[in-house]
Amino acid sequence: MGNKQTIFTAEQLDAYQDCTFFTRKEILRLFHRYRDLAPQLVPPDYTSKPDVKIPYELIGSMPELKDNPFRQRIAEVFSEDGEGNMTLDDFLDMFSVMSEMAPKDLKACYAFKIYDFNNDDFICKSDLEKTLNKLTRNELTPEEVRLVCEKVIDEADLDNDGRLSLEDFQHMIIRAPDFLRRTQASKTRREQLIREPELLNKYKFSGSK
């Protein structure tokens, strides 16, 4: 295109456009937002692929994350080192998944990872309790927390092992498995099952376009 920019090589921009849901302009805008978080850390020129990480404290101060009770988990899930310190790649990834263009099963996959506090690929009771406490800022009594966790596992656990796997989570999120699709196009193992739009519409940052 006609716009000349010196931040990325054409190859890098091409790769970003392929790997995220953003257009050229949006990627550059996001880069500037990333840079504004820590201008002295982030070089203005990424053509040499520098290895720069912005620490979690600065990431957590962004307006989209500042008041979100799950900001630490979001940063941990999307960051390379698992501690919340994000490179530019992680940053773009996060916004791409949280944008309104991302399909529902992608959001469901990452939402599952966010709620899986101990990273064991299952949402067990302790994960649920931590989720609830973060949601209600520890204002529920332990008895109430226990009751709600029990009810959630009752409702969503399909294979009866006392914890939620990714399939349980997806099934609960969609509420009504789209049976025709599943029986016909069974080539890929995970298809577009998500039909309930509003629940997963909440998993996006507003105004991130």
């Binding site: 979100n68 999307f78 992680d90 709600v148 009504a176 498995p177």
Partner: protein, 686 residues
């Protein structure tokens, strides 16, 4: 190469594709992983022919172009930024109301364009250009007995003589009489002529009028049904909402798009409040299940009594509406009122609207009190109150139309002195269609005025009071909460009036568009300035379905009077495009007569019973098939769920078996070791 690649793409997550046909963006890997997959795919591209790679790269740039185009188009979407702001501060529940309002503005504007293009603009053009082809319509069905009385039927002269005072001007504007009555706004102004544009082609104004109105209702129906199909699918096939209540609240409770701190605090409180309410309700439900028979008997008889009371209240309000409409119609025809006090005549004009609005204000309050005594669970409470309010709103409109019908057709009795000559009350209603159009016009205006007045006189002072007065009862009353269901019922009510009135007043959609446009901004203003977010969040998913169902009910209600007046009531002889017809519908068969023979016979066949009955039977069979298919799928879902559980049990069993066998093996090993060691010892011992 293929196999190696598939094995590689399974490494990262464990649940991975067998073939990588998914677009890169949708793969749940970090950026490096995606870049690796991309490199592998590009290497694969180099193996295939140059034609294939050229095609792929062009496909890619086409997709990019589509993305950019979609981006530009979405920027042009009306009110997108407002909706984003509302979502950010109040969440998706309240945003769904504004989304719905925007949809209605679009619908009304599209309808206005339709009626303007087919009806209004051709009429204006014909009037100004003064074509020579003005031929009066040939009527095939004459009136039965053209006696002296029927001569009076076509007497219609609404124009005012002499100077018009300023008050009368305002009065006319507010009630659709005077200078507005004989204008494009109402039915009475349109001519019953056939305009010959060329030798072969002529523009049949009455036919255009009828077809536009029917088409308008049909398009609204199709648009609505299309929009609500998603919601229908979910609610028919999906499991009961109660079964996923808690998981929904925990995993989808947090709106990730809320970014203001005050809003997040409120969101925490609302989630907390909701979970507490649910647990309380659970406890209440368990208590209810343990009621003794005597208690059950008490509560059921109490509920029966209260339901009778509700029906009684509804009946009373309908009776009031009936009386008010009759009274106002009688008074309107007495000249003494028309020339007296301005405010008195305005009051008489608007009497039906005032009574309807008063009923719609007071009844919900009573319903709230009654439902508190009935001791239902909270979800049933909400549903029942909503049901009662919806019924009240739509039925009060129906009551108004019924009382108008009684007046116009002398309650169906054609032998009464007023109706005998012309089959409608020609003395009081020389042009009854225009009169109905005027009533609808007044309803819309009054509805708009009510919304504005309530905002100014109730919401704003309440906010100022709460802010500056710190006494206990005022603080307990608190700021206004933005109640989504009530607001939705308001705009559905307005839309129903518009649908009913468009046949009698073709420019009503334009009025409605402007009205809803202004209401959007007013409601947005009141939301941001006066309201606090509700404690109980309104689920956006189920609410969209609810809005569309209520709107559909309004559409069906509005079809009834329109179709009834088209098919049954004699059109006015003094005005309008159908003055020479026996029934409005007759224009269709008359026009079909003029078509070539094959088309005519085909159309008559479609309208006959020989076609309709088999079609009906076929639709029933199809419906039955689809319903049983849905039932079969539901059963299959249950079977598979059970199978899933069994497989998990099998897995546990097998794991236990393996563990036991491992232990047994180890014991065997230990035994063997000890045997050998004892053997060795015996061997060692010489």
């Amino acid at each position: 190469v293929e196999e190696a690649e598939n094995r590689e793409t399974q490494d990262q997550d464990g649940y991975w594709l067998e073939d990588d046909s998914r677009p890169l963006k949708e793969i749940p890997l970090p950026m490096q992983g995606k870049r690796a997959v991309r490199d592998r795919r590009q290497m694969k591209i180099q193996i295939i022919s140059s034609w294939e790679s050229w095609k792929k790269s062009h496909l890619k740039s086409l997709k990019r172009f589509q993305l950019e185009a979609a981006d530009v188009l979405s920027r042009m979407e009306v009110w997108k930024s407002s909706l984003h702001k509302i979502e950010g501060k109040f969440g998706t529940g309240i945003q769904s109301y504004f989304n719905f309002l925007r949809f209605l503005v679009m619908l009304n504007f599209a309808m206005f364009l339709l009626t303007a293009a087919v009806l209004v603009i051709p009429n204006i053009v014909f009037m100004t250009v003064d074509l020579q082809g003005w031929t009066l319509l040939n009527t095939t069905g004459m009136m039965e007995n053209p006696d002296s009385k029927s001569g009076n039927c076509s007497l219609y002269n609404p124009t005012q003589e002499g100077l018009v005072s300023f008050y009368t001007y305002i009065m006319d504007l507010l009630s659709g009489t005077g200078f507005l009555e004989l204008s494009y706004l109402f039915y009475g102004y349109y001519k019953d002529t056939d305009v010959g544009l060329t030798t072969a082609f002529s523009y049949n104004i009455p036919l255009a009028y009828l077809l536009t109105s029917l088409f308008y209702l049909l398009v609204s129906l199709i648009w609505l049904v299309r929009r609500s199909v998603q919601g229908f699918k979910l609610n028919l096939v999906s499991s009961d909402e109660a079964l996923t209540n808690y998981s929904n609240k925990v995993f989808a409770g947090w709106d990730f798009c809320i970014i203001q701190e005050k809003a997040t605090q409120l969101k925490h409180n609302s989630i907390h409040y909701e979970l507490q309410m649910d647990l309380e309700e659970e406890a209440i439900r368990e208590k209810i299940a343990e009621w003794t028979t005597r208690q059950k008997f008490c509560i059921y008889s109490l509920r029966l009594l209260l339901n009778l009371l509700v029906i009684g209240l509804l009946g009373a309000s309908f009776f009031c509406i009936y009386i008010a409409t009759q009274y106002s119609q009688i008074l309107l025809n007495q000249d003494s009122v028309a020339s007296s006090n301005f405010f008195l005549s305005l009051l008489v004009q608007y009497l039906p609207s005032i009574v309807i609005t008063a009923a719609n204000f007071t009844m919900p309050i009573l319903f709230n009190i009654i439902i508190g005594i009935e001791k239902y669970s909270r979800t049933t409470e909400i549903k029942l109150t909503l049901l009662r309010s919806v019924f009240l709103r739509l039925a009060s409109l129906g009551m108004l139309l019924f009382s108008l019908w009684t007046e116009i057709t002398c309650a169906g009795d054609m032998d009464e002195s007023d109706c005998s000559g012309c089959h409608y009350n020609y003395r009081r209603y020389p042009c009854w269609e225009t009169r109905i159009g005027q009533e609808m016009y007044k309803l819309i205006i009054f509805d708009f005025i009510t919304i504005v007045v309530v905002m100014l006189l109730v919401d704003f002072p309440r906010k100022i009071l709460v802010q500056h007065c710190s006494c206990k009862p005022v603080q307990l009353w608190g700021q206004q909460e933005f109640l989504v269901p009530q607001n939705v019922l308001d705009i559905v009510y307005g839309q129903t009036i518009c649908w009913i009135g468009t046949f009698y007043s073709p420019l009503l959609p334009l009025l409605n568009t402007v009205k809803y446009f202004i209401i959007f901004y007013l409601k947005k203003l009141t939301l941001f300035v006066n309201c606090r977010p509700a404690n109980r969040t309104f689920r956006a998913s189920s609410s969209n379905f609810f809005f569309l169902v209520v709107l559909l009910m309004g559409l069906i209600l509005s079809c009834v009077p329109v179709l009834y007046s088209i098919m049954v009531i004699t059109p006015s002889k003094g005005c309008g495009p159908f003055r020479t017809q026996q029934k409005i519908w007759d224009i269709l068969p008359n026009s079909i007569e003029g078509l070539p023979r094959v088309t005519r016979e085909f159309l008559f066949f479609i309208g006959s019973q020989a076609f309709a009955v088999p079609l009906f039977v076929l639709s029933c069979i199809l419906l039955f098939y689809v319903v049983s298919l849905a039932g079969a799928y539901g059963q299959r879902v249950n079977l598979l769920k059970a199978q899933l559980q069994r497989e998990e049990q099998d897995k546990h069993f097998l794991v236990k078996q393996i563990a036991e066998m491992g232990r047994a093996n180890q014991k065997n090993n230990n035994n063997r070791v000890s045997f050998f060691s004892s053997l060795m010892k015996t061997v060692d011992k010489p």
